[in-house]
């Protein structure tokens, strides 16, 4: 059972303190400190902001487990996990910069407003120097903007929209997760091999920013290899029954259905598509196929047998065979009795990377951390060699193409790795049109 001390607000110095314990007002200044929430005691507080209620609660829970594990490893407890395989050896298991790591948690409810409120409370009340986690792009962009203003570091968690490191990128924010463009770049060759280059694709797209950017990316990549996009239909987020969107696919002449859905939407639209017998259809003399560009273990488990043979992509998977992955899966599995999900991996790695950057920079000052993370290259955290690109704070690494397993042996064994797409293949120029607009701006130490 893990134990850690009650979270206390880092003591903030405030100008001159009067003799009788009465404060002399420092009129409306905020420049008395070096940077926001500078830790002055023997501890440093990290904020883990994940969905604990709402449809993504399970994913949030898994992220929380991973972050708790990361804190343990940072403080020198447990088996050290990926600290042993990480190429940078700055971390010594004595916390960060000698300060014991504590954490506070918040509930994003997968709503931009609530996520910002809980992040603010962790920054303002608990003195968190960094916010980590989240399970949707809307939330990630909203919280990233907040952290930029407040002067703390934001590590994004699960966010797959191109905008997070595109038009909404911020200097104080980093993303370890991959994005729609990278999914498309990794999937296209595999799809071409599996299904040929003469295909007619029908897109169903969740009607919000993430859906739009992913659809745009997938359509561009598949069209480049010869596929035709028959139609793109936007579906309301609140939909629970997709039958009226699936039925028109039957006679549309399309022979591939691309589901740009995530979470509950994905589970339901895939289930409905299977109900309508799409995967048993022969169209244009070809077997009808379904593609789910963004997979997650939890959603695959939710969709059950319906994912069999369906191709998609992932940021990371516990079945990878490199040392880092194995170390992480072992320590996570032993503690929680289940393999970690890819969002759990992202949050775990981001916590370690943040700590490592602080060590290397020698400070918790966000500007120092930004400098240390920009252009940082490392290995030993799964997915081979990884780069945190300086221009847009997007992380580049190998991308996994996955397929629903035909005969899963247990509930964690729903997907199998089809291909590990090398990093070079998913890279793009920082000024790629899909990522245009927006700028990182200057780093903000806050206070």
């Amino acid at each position: 059972m893990s134990k850690f001390t009650t979270t206390r607000r880092g003591l903030i110095k405030s100008g001159v303190v009067g003799g009788a314990g009465l404060a002399m007002p420092t009129i409306f200044t905020s420049s008395a400190f070096g940077y926001t929430n500078e830790p002055t005691g023997s501890t440093v507080t990290l904020g883990f902001n994940v969905p604990q209620t709402g449809p993504y609660a399970e994913e949030g829970l898994d992220e929380l487990r991973a972050q708790e594990l990361a804190v343990e490893h940072l403080n020198g407890m447990g088996d050290g996990g990926m600290l042993n395989t990480f190429s940078s050896k700055a971390l010594k298991g004595n916390g960060i910069l000698g300060k014991k790591v504590q954490f506070v948690t918040g509930d994003t409810q997968t709503k931009s407003d609530a996520a910002r409120a809980s992040a603010k409370s962790m920054i303002e009340k608990d003195g968190a120097v960094m916010i980590n986690g989240g399970s949707s792009s809307g939330v990630a962009v909203a919280v990233q903007g907040l952290c930029q203003e407040a002067g703390v570091i934001f590590m994004a968690g699960l966010t797959h929209s191109n905008d997070t490191t595109g038009k909404d990128k911020k200097r104080n924010g980093f993303r370890h997760f991959f994005n729609g463009y990278m999914s498309a770049a990794a999937l296209a060759p595999v799809l071409k091999n599996a299904y040929g280059s003469d295909r007619r694709a029908y897109h169903l797209t969740a009607d919000y920013t993430w859906g739009w950017t992913q659809q745009e990316s997938i359509a561009a990549a598949t069209e480049a290899m010869g596929w035709e996009t028959v139609n793109n239909v936007l579906t309301p987020l609140a939909s629970t029954d997709f039958s009226s969107y699936i039925a028109p696919v039957l006679n549309s002449g399309a022979d591939v259905l691309v589901l740009n859905h995530y979470g509950g939407n994905m589970v339901n639209s895939l289930t409905n598509a299977i109900q309508f017998g799409l995967r048993d259809k022969i169209v244009n003399g070809k077997q009808f196929e379904i593609v789910v560009p963004l997979y997650s273990e939890l959603m695959a488990a939710g969709a059950g047998k319906n994912v069999e043979g369906v191709i998609g992509s992932m940021n990371w998977n516990w079945q990878l065979q490199d040392d880092g992955t194995q170390a992480f899966v072992k320590s996570f599995g032993e503690k929680y009795g289940r393999p970690p999900s890819n969002s759990a991996h992202t949050c775990y790695v981001q916590t370690l990377l943040y700590a490592d950057a602080c060590e290397r920079a020698g400070t918790f000052n966000p500007c120092g951390v930004v400098d240390a993370l920009e252009g940082f290259e490392f290995d030993g955290m799964g997915n081979g060699p990884v780069l945190y690109r300086a221009e847009d704070h997007q992380c580049f690494k190998d991308v996994l193409v996955m397929k629903g397993k035909e005969n899963p042996t247990n509930e964690y064994d729903t997907l199998e790795i089809v291909e590990v797409t090398p990093r070079a293949q998913v890279e793009y120029a920082p000024d790629h049109p899909m990522f245009a607009g927006g700028e990182l701006g200057a780093c903000n130490p806050g206070a």
Binding site: G106, A117, D168
Partner: protein
């Protein structure tokens, strides 16, 4: 005082004192004590207390006085936020034009929606307001209106925010964060007094002053002939009609006033944090203000403020109570007992805070139909009975007539 009778003046002064001293009252536990977790005196939450207080006060003017239950009031808060952020995008970060426009836009929306919805009463009115609000929510969430017009109007689920390449024609060298003629909203004054630490944020005090103004206005409306007519509408529309009065202008007027309160609240939310998210227009957000008002005590002056405080406190403090903290607190107990206790309590805190909310809410509705205000009155009369002083006020001694 200021046209208020003695009782109302006392109430007004009490609320003003609470609002001004909130940074101290809410940080009552010393910083290093374990109870510091329950402190709520940090800028964001204090601002939410008063902003949602404004929202609930306005909602109570409509619901508490006329009995018309709007299930779409969050939509006006939402348009207020969008209006304010658009002001930041187009002019500059000064909060004055933002707040003014947010009130004006909310008034315009509530005028149109109220005019149509008030043609029906009872649950039909509720469903009409709900339908309008949900339409506005999905329109904002997928930015349908922007799509029809070919521009970015609400920026979808990400929320509308200010970008560096926005026009901001009056920005000049002004601050790059919301400010009141140069006074930054996020600026704050921190006082260390012994083991305590108190934060006095500028943004909070702006909100608090506006909340007090809203509260004062609400008292005046409650005590005015206009307010009397509104209460008459709730009590007996038939008699009002046979007194030669058409209730529609009255209900529409108060609907618009209450929409403006919501717009002000939305504008202030954007001023404290310049991002307007679509979720704040969803039906659950509308339901939240209903819950706040009834939890505090609908139709009472102070009720909505208490209700909004209670809900926001629960949402922001209970949801952060994770198992690690619980283990820490109960660590002094024997292991088995500690585990059991943590298991039970953790179902109600952290990710289980919704359960606490739902349960608490049921208890209040079942046992205190008049909300927290009734609870307060009961305690007061209980104390008076025990000490043998005073008697219950005459007007509560009502007996069913038929």
């Amino acid at each position: 005082m200021f046209g208020l009778n003695k009782k109302d003046s006392i109430l007004m002064i009490a609320v003003a004192a609470l609002a001004l001293l909130a940074p101290f009252i809410l940080n009552i536990f010393p910083n290093d004590s374990a109870l510091a977790f329950f402190n709520a005196g940090y800028p964001d939450l204090m601002q939410r207390f008063v902003i949602f207080g404004i929202f609930a006060i306005g909602f109570n003017l409509l619901f508490g006085l006329t009995g018309y239950l709007s299930f779409g009031h969050a939509a006006f808060l939402g348009v207020g936020s969008y209006a304010a952020v658009w002001m930041f995008k187009l002019l500059n970060y000064n909060v004055v034009p933002a707040i003014v426009l947010s009130i004006v836009v909310a008034a315009a929306f509530s005028l149109v929606i109220g005019y149509i919805s008030l043609r029906r009463s009872g649950i039909y009115f509720s469903i009409l307001t709900l339908a309008f609000a949900q339409m506005m929510f999905v329109t904002a969430y997928s930015d349908l209106l922007g799509r029809w017009l070919g521009i970015t109007l609400t920026n979808g689920e990400t929320g509308l925010q200010v970008y560096n390449d926005d026009p901001q024609i009056l920005l000049g060298n002004g601050p790059n964060v919301p400010h009141l003629f140069g006074l930054e909203m996020r600026a704050k004054e921190v006082w260390d007094i012994g083991p305590w630490e108190f934060t006095l944020p500028v943004g909070y005090y702006l909100c608090a002053v506006l909340m007090l103004a809203s509260f004062y206005l609400a008292i005046r409306i409650f005590r005015s002939p206009f307010g009397l007519m509104l209460r008459a509408i709730k009590s007996n529309q038939t008699r009002l009609n046979y007194t030669g009065l058409n209730s529609k202008p009255y209900t529409l007027a108060v609907f618009v006033i209450s929409g403006m309160y919501a717009g002000l609240a939305g504008g202030l939310l954007a001023c404290m944090d310049p991002l307007a998210g679509a979720e704040r227009m969803q039906w659950t957000a509308s339901g939240e203000v209903v819950i706040m008002t009834i939890l505090g005590g609908a139709g009472t002056l102070i009720g909505p403020i208490l209700g909004s405080g209670a809900i926001k406190y629960l949402e922001n403090v209970f949801s952060k109570l994770n198992e690690g903290l619980l283990h820490d607190w109960f660590g002094f107990m024997p292991d088995g007992l500690e585990g059991a206790l943590v298991w039970v309590v953790s179902k109600f805190t952290g990710e289980g805070w919704h359960l606490t909310l739902g349960g608490l809410f049921m208890l209040v509705i079942i046992f205190l139909p008049g909300g927290l205000v009734e609870g307060g009155n009961k305690i007061r009369s209980w104390i008076q009975n025990r000490t043998g002083r005073g008697s219950p006020p005459a007007d509560t001694a009502s007996t069913p007539a038929e």
